[in-house]
Every structure is written in structure tokens, then in C-alpha cells.
Amino acid sequence: MSRDLIQKLKQLKHGSAKPRAEWLKSNREILLSQIRNTTVDLGVKQSTYHINNIWTGLAIFFPKPLVYNVMRPMAVLLIVTMVATSGWITTVDAAYNTLPGDWLYSAKRVAEKTQVTVASVVGAKTTETKLHSEFAKRRASEAKQIVKGTDPKKNEKVTQVVNDLKQEIKNVNANLEEIKSDGVSASVIKDVKQDAEQIKNVLQEVKTDLLAAVATSSTDSMANDAMAKQVSEAKDMVKDASVKAVEVMVAKHLEGDTSVSVAELKQEISTTLATMATESDATKLTIDATQAVVDAAKVEAKEATKAPAVNTSTKELSDKISAMADTTKEAVVKSDEAKVVTDQKITEGQDLLAKGEFSGAVDKIKEATVAASAVEKINDEAMAKVQTVLPVASVVKEVAPILATASTTPIQVIVSTSTATATPKVQVQVIVTTTVNKK
């Protein structure tokens, strides 16, 4: 009887209790259009991946408490253990080259944080310091890749990684300070110093690329300038960290730490001073090259104004370039003055080093760093101003090495302007026709 009753109950769903087919269809369309409007209003990206979706997905199939209170903590513990024992090579490799916005980037950052946490928990200060230094290198590399790329959100991403880089350097500095006062080997500091040099070079490239980036609007120019300043700040921090590393090395040596020999210490300080001297010369060359290009452009522009049917915009451009030439000239003068101070400090440092006065040499390195940063700032500001009128940054890269040779013949720089439109476009080309005077 029950079975019969149940069967009859089941039959009730046929007949008028069944909905109209046309209503089902039209209602479906109406509902879909309503909900699609909802997702548009919210600006929801329907293909966004978030690492938390893994747990959301598991919570569909398993009880939520099991997922969040058991499975996720177990997964985190497993990750920590494997990362700490360097066993998770595949995943780390897969995430290694990711950039902000890539879905594995967050996994990369989580793995980094986990590594630092593990090192911190077990009290491995040297490991922790090396990790922060390594991660700072990665951020620099990421910044370089992003700037070279065509991501529309480039500005935000560069800002993000540069800020992260600065944080890593702060951590390095903090750790170096701790290493100074506790019984930790100074050999790790050599590694940090080497990393700092690499990071500095990468950041210099990033800065140059930012300045050279084609700016199609004043907004882009301002954004690039702002980012270049951020990168400059980061570079200064890295320089300071490098100097601090040398300082700690000297302090440890004076305490009797034998992990770095006297010869190695002398070599480190000597290398630092030599690098600073090279960088000082390179900075001078850059501003000189900028001046050379701007002066050549000024001459070209003035010639263009002498043409019979010159228009107002050409004349305005010529005036702007003339103004830039004056600005650059002033920048060169200031830069030369500051360079004199830098070079003097470097020389004094080398003298003190020769006498075995390591602490004194480090102090001179610090003073030279301050002076060199001032020179760099003057140059960057001048370059940024010129770049708004003449796209010289990429050209200067070609001209600067040539100026470094013993050539006394001026380089020919061709500046071509297109006056076809109301706003003349300026392009700068370098045609090198130097001959070296052989003495």
C-alpha cells in the first residue's frame, strides 16, 4: 500500500503542476539579464583567480570547519616544512619568475615570508639576512621586468615592488645592526654586500629605462618621474646598506672575528672605494653627454627657425631647447662641484685604508656616499627636465661611452623635428663621426 501511495504521489508532478515551457524559458532569460546587470554594476571580473578559492572550493565538498581548521593549517605546515628543508623545488621554481598580478606571485611571496619566518624562529640570523638580501634582489629584478614590459598597470606594480624592496633593505639593515653586536660570523656580510652591488646596478637600469620611457602625455611623464624618484630612493637605501655591511665587517674584525681576514677586509674596502670612483665618473659622463646632446639640439633648432616659412611652434620648441641647454649647463656646474667633494672623500678613504685605519676609511666611504647621492640627484633632475622637451635619455646611453674615450672630435648629434602637426615632435639621433687624435 505504501509503495502504491508513494507511486501516486510521484505522479502528481505531471499535469498542471508542471510549469509552462515558454514561461520557464522566458523567465530564465529575464533572470540572467538581471543578474548580469548585477555583476556589471559590481565591476566583477569573472575570471579572477584568488588563492583563497582553493579553500572555498574544498569547503564545497568537505565541511567548512574541516577545511579551515584542519586541512588549511596542515597544508601551511607542509609548505613551511618543505620550504625549510628546501624540498619544494618545483613549486618554487614555477613561481620564481612570476610578477605582481600573476597567480603564482602570491605563492612566491608566501614562500618567501615562510622562509624568513622559519629562519627567524630557529634563530638563524645570518640565513634571515641573506634571505632579505636575496628577496631585495628579486624585487629589483621584478621592477626591471615590469618597466620593460607593456602592462597597463605598470606604474602601480613598479611602485609596489619598489616599496617591497625598500622594506627588504630596511630588514637587511636591521639585521646587520644585530649581527654587529652578537657573535655571528662576518662572512655573511660579504654576500649581502655583493647582493647590494647587483641590486644597485639593476636599479640604475630601471631608473634609466623609466626616464627614457616614451611619454605620450604629461601625466605619463609625471608618473615616470615619480617612479624614477622612488627607484632613486631605493638605490640610495641599497647603497647605505652596502656601506653598512662594510661598517659591520670592520666592527667585527676589530672585535676579533677571524672569519674575514685583514687582506679580505682591505680588499672589500678598496673595492668599495674603487666602485664609488667609477660610479662618480660615470655620473659625470652622463651629465656631460646630456649637455652635448642638448647643445647639439639647440643648434639644430636655431637653424630650423631661420627657415623662410617657420611656424610659431618651431620657434617655441627652439626656445624650450635653449632654456633646457641653460638648465643643463647649470646642472653640470653643480654636478662638477659635488663631484669634487666625492672624489676628495674617496681619495682620503684610500689614504686611510693604506694606513690600516679601517674605521676612518669607512667614515670616508659614508661621506663620499652622501656626496655621490647629491650628484646623482642633480643629474636625475636635470635629465628629467630635459626629457620633457627632448627624448635624450636613450641617446645619452650611446653618447656617454664615446665621451669616455680619448677622442677630442665632437660627436655629431642630429636632431630632427617634425613640424607637420601643430605640436612638433622631436626625435634625436646620434650619428657618430669621431676620429681619435693619436698623440
Partner: protein, 183 residues
């Protein structure tokens, strides 16, 4: 049935994480008829049933999107619960006393004409009239289980009871229905 459950869970996952309209459409295709029947037996009119069903689906979509951190065990359970609430609101609006007295409206569908299309017309009418004599709680579990063919977990979620309580209620409801039919 197991595959169907996984399918629903996957669609629900897409709904929660990506707000995927296609997933919602697929769930609509799965449950629209059942919800319609559920509502139809309760409100007794085609137009009202259609309105309430539309409203229920839309409210379910809005609920899932505004409660993304909350656990939703099953889409169908949630949908039925919302549909039930919509029916309560419907009766409140109509100031009907039928709901509180535990009786269904006499107007089942098109004034009861629909059952005439059934092959076993007398039995169909008998069953429906017998169901009407049951208390509301029994009516619900009977129709959800045997007319809409829901699983125990889904009925439990809709009624807000435990699975064991649902089984017990269903057993008693069927027993009562049998008594009424045999009278």
C-alpha cells in the same frame, strides 16, 4: 544521483567564487521545475507560482553573492528555504488564514481541473485531498520527498530540522496519509 550532487556542488563553487551567470543558469535548469511544483502546491495559482519562483531564484542569487564567506551546503536547500519564505510573505500580503490553519488553498491549479488529465483521475484527487487533510509539517515533507524527490539532507535544510527528525516526520506523515486514504 552522486554525480548530480557533484555537479551541483561544482556549479555552486563557480557561483560563489566567480559569480558565474552560466552556472546560475545551469542551476536554474536543474531546479526550476521542482521549485515551481513546490510553490504551486502551496499557493494554488499558476501566475502567483511563477512570480514566487522568479523571486526565489533572484533572492537566492543575491544571497549567495552577499554571503560569500558563509557555508552553503546545498544550492537546492537554500533555494527551497528562500522559496518557503517567499510563500510566507505571499500569504502575509494576502492576509490569508489558510496557511495558519494548516490547510492548503482549495484552488489547486486551475480550480482543480488539472487532475482530470491524469490517467488515474480518481486516485489523484483522492491523494491530493488526503494530503490537504494532513498538518502542514506532514504535507511539506510528503511533497518534498515524493513529489519533488528531494534528498533527506535537502529536506532537512529546508525545514530546519535534523535528518533523523525528517525521517521520523516522513514516516509519521506517510502513515497518517495511508490512514486517511484507507478511510
Amino acid at each position: 544521483m552522486v554525480l548530480g550532487n557533484w555537479n551541483e556542488k561544482l556549479l555552486l563553487f563557480r557561483l560563489q567564487t566567480k559569480r558565474d551567470p552560466d552556472a546560475f543558469a545551469a542551476l536554474y535548469d536543474l531546479y526550476s521545475e521542482r521549485i515551481y511544483r513546490f510553490v504551486f502546491f502551496k499557493v494554488g495559482g499558476q501566475a502567483d507560482a511563477e512570480d514566487i519562483v522568479s523571486e526565489s531564484f533572484l533572492k537566492t542569487w543575491n544571497y549567495i553573492n552577499s554571503h560569500r564567506d558563509e557555508e552553503v551546503k546545498s544550492f537546492s536547500g537554500l533555494l527551497y528555504r528562500i522559496a518557503r519564505n517567499c510563500i510566507v510573505d505571499y500569504y502575509r500580503q494576502k492576509n490569508s488564514t489558510n496557511q495558519t490553519s494548516g490547510e492548503l488553498s482549495d484552488d489547486l491549479g486551475d480550480g482543480g481541473k488539472w487532475y482530470e488529465e491524469l490517467r488515474d483521475q480518481v486516485d489523484g484527487r483522492q491523494i491530493i485531498q488526503a494530503i490537504k487533510k494532513l498538518k502542514q509539517e506532514y504535507q511539506e515533507v510528503i511533497t518534498l520527498r515524493y513529489v519533488d524527490e528531494l534528498r533527506m539532507e535537502e529536506i532537512a535544510e529546508i525545514t530546519g530540522k535534523g535528518k533523523i527528525a525528517v525521517r521520523v516526520t516522513l514516516h509519521r506523515a506517510l502513515k497518517k496519509l495511508k490512514e486517511i486514504v484507507e478511510l
